[in-house]
């Protein structure tokens, strides 16, 4: 069998189709890597060994019969907030520690239909609220590049699993940067699609106007292959958009010559680490050498993104998480005195500290007398940020800048001050507020830690953004680097 740590998802899918190795062999090899790494990385919450081997056997039968789909037999993992029928879907929370989903999320069903084999559910910040994967009820995930550091969050388990090549790709979600930030910190590729591009049905809700499902993979080509299967209209999600899905894989080879790239002035601010900035500027020179035309663009309202986000996201979170009442599903306290006691203690015990903080922030900004001052004000400021992006895309095709201000930081370094932690997402939140597609690709190293380059495009420009990422990966090999011990 080909070397797992050096093979992309695209190559593994081709190898399976050519019957160079079997899905059972591939799945066994991945399960071994998961088992060997779990004590160190803690990337998984559940490993679905038996069903994975059953699915792999079925995949091998399909491949032998020549009836395989585009991902038949390819092992993947799902972030543990995608509902998986008959498998615990915990969302990284004590609240859902006992929750076995009665149905599959649309993303899960589509990848299953394309032939992918699920190996398990990945660790994450509780209810996707965090930028370091330290808020998980199941303990922190560790960064495979340096296990004393965070992998980023909230999709930290999916990112660590792909970076350590435990699986070739994993699903993830992005509300304020939760795909792109861990992709940057773990040295892999992450795509957050346009709002409405990928169905949110069966994806446990955090902030419904911002949440979007996407992919973490080693390369943009792998992400394109996954996204092509995941994307598309779903009548079960009322925010799903009925726009045809282009063939992202076929569109990868479009040339970069003449591509108008905007350098986002506000991204190169005083918070950006100097060495991170150097790597990003080197990447921009690669784009220039490939024929892209660079110009500086200013989005004057973009610095408001983080404050706007920390009104809108907690407001939506407090409303979405009201469903956890200790009655129908989820954690229930012992011996409640009355119904109010049942609600208050079930929620007080079931939610962790950061989730409670966000529920309370949201409750406050939506409460009588404060709604106009906070929530409505933030939604107005959000409109200004959105208008800045629309104006920028009248003169450039894509915006490029850093994904994060710094490389990965130490576990525990930012837990004492929530606002410091929130500022980690300063370059990623804008795309969520405006619903734009964005990709993070590895663009170099600082002190042996990966640095991420972010490419943001107009609504529904995933094909162009992925092609721009792919062209960079054709010209560089940062995406092929694998952490020591996992190569």
């Amino acid at each position: 069998m080909s070397d797992l740590s050096r093979s992309t998802l695209t190559e593994l899918a081709a190898g399976l189709r050519a019957r160079r190795f079997s899905s059972v062999e591939l799945v066994r090899a991945c399960l071994e890597r998961i088992d060997a790494s779990q004590g160190t990385l803690n990337a998984f919450i559940s490993v679905t060994r038996e069903s994975a081997l059953r699915e792999a056997q079925a995949a091998d039968a399909a491949l032998a019969a020549g009836s395989g789909g585009p991902l038949t037999g390819v092992p993947i993992a799902h972030k543990d907030l995608f509902c998986t029928q008959g498998v615990r879907t915990s969302c990284g929370s004590r609240m859902l520690d006992n929750f076995v989903s009665p149905y599959d999320a649309t993303v899960v069903a589509r990848l299953k239909a394309a032939g992918a084999v699920m190996l398990g559910k990945t660790n994450m910040d509780e209810f996707a609220m965090g930028s370091s994967n330290e808020t998980s009820y199941y303990g922190p995930v560790r960064n495979p590049w340096n296990t004393s550091l965070v992998p980023g969050g909230s999709s930290g388990g999916s990112a660590a699993a792909v970076a350590a090549r435990l699986v070739p790709a994993a699903t993830a979600t992005d509300t304020g940067g939760s795909i792109r930030q861990p992709a940057a910190l773990c040295g892999i590729t992450g795509v957050k699609p346009t709002y409405g591009r990928v169905s949110r049905y069966g994806m446990v809700a955090f902030a419904s106007s911002l949440d979007q499902g996407g992919v973490l993979a080693a390369t943009a080509a792998d992400a394109a292959l996954m996204l092509r299967e995941m994307a598309g209209f779903d009548p079960n999600d009322s925010t799903s958009v009925d726009v045809p899905v282009p063939d992202y894989v076929a569109a990868l080879e479009q040339p970069l010559a003449g591509l108008k790239v905007g350098l986002l002035k506000e991204f190169f601010d005083k918070g950006l680490d100097r060495q991170n900035e150097q790597r990003v500027r080197e990447a921009l020179r690669v784009y220039e050498s490939l024929g892209a035309v660079l110009s500086e663009v200013s989005l004057p309202h973009l610095p408001l993104s983080v404050p706007v986000y920390y009104v809108v996201a907690p407001a939506e979170c407090s409303s979405n998480l009201a469903r956890f009442d200790g009655v129908r599903f989820g954690h229930r306290c012992q011996n409640p005195r009355d119904l109010q006691d049942l609600y208050r203690r079930s929620r007080g015990e079931g939610f962790g500290a950061e989730v409670k903080r966000r529920i309370m922030t949201g409750t406050y900004v939506l409460s009588a007398g404060y709604y106009d001052a906070y929530y409505l004000k933030a939604q107005r400021a959000r409109q200004l940020i959105n208008a800045d992006f629309i104006r920028a895309f009248q003169s450039v095709d894509v915006l490029i800048g850093p994904t994060t201000p710094t490389p990965a930081f130490a576990i525990g370094a930012k837990t004492a001050d929530p606002v410091t932690m929130y500022l980690n997402d300063i370059y990623t939140i804008g795309a969520n507020l405006a619903g734009l597609p964005a990709v993070s690709v590895p663009c170099g190293f600082v002190d042996e830690l990966p640095v991420g380059l972010q490419i943001v495009g107009p609504h529904f420009s995933e094909a162009r953004v992925l092609a721009a990422a792919h062209a960079f990966q054709r010209a560089t090999d940062w995406h092929a680097r694998v952490p020591r011990g996992y190569a």
Binding site: P102, S318, R344, R347, T363
Partner: protein, 96 residues
């Protein structure tokens, strides 16, 4: 903006969250810091700006025909409930 213990207790009551006496000062501190941080929005002129209701300009949420599409799965769904009797969710007595 500094929130008082009483304000935190009142927010927690609205959010149906039981907080211990040691948690209250922690949230007093962090929520006050968060409100100071989002207070930066006060300085922004948003007069005549329409609040953003949907991330995709010009699109609003779709409606579907008002017809029954779901079938009855209550037994399956209730497998996730802690206390169920005769197809009913059990909660503490509400009316004396």
């Amino acid at each position: 903006m500094a929130l008082t213990r009483e304000q935190i207790a009142s927010i927690a009551a609205l959010a149906r969250l039981d907080l211990s006496s040691t948690e209250i000062p922690v949230y007093q501190n962090s929520l006050s810091n968060i409100l100071d941080f989002i207070g930066a929005l006060d300085a922004v002129d948003t007069a005549n700006v329409v609040p953003m209701a949907h991330p995709l300009p010009g699109l609003s949420q779709r409606l579907r025909p008002d017809v029954v599409t779901e079938t009855d799965h209550h037994e399956l769904y209730q497998e996730n409930a802690t206390q169920v009797t005769a197809g009913l969710y059990l909660v503490p007595k509400v009316i004396e």
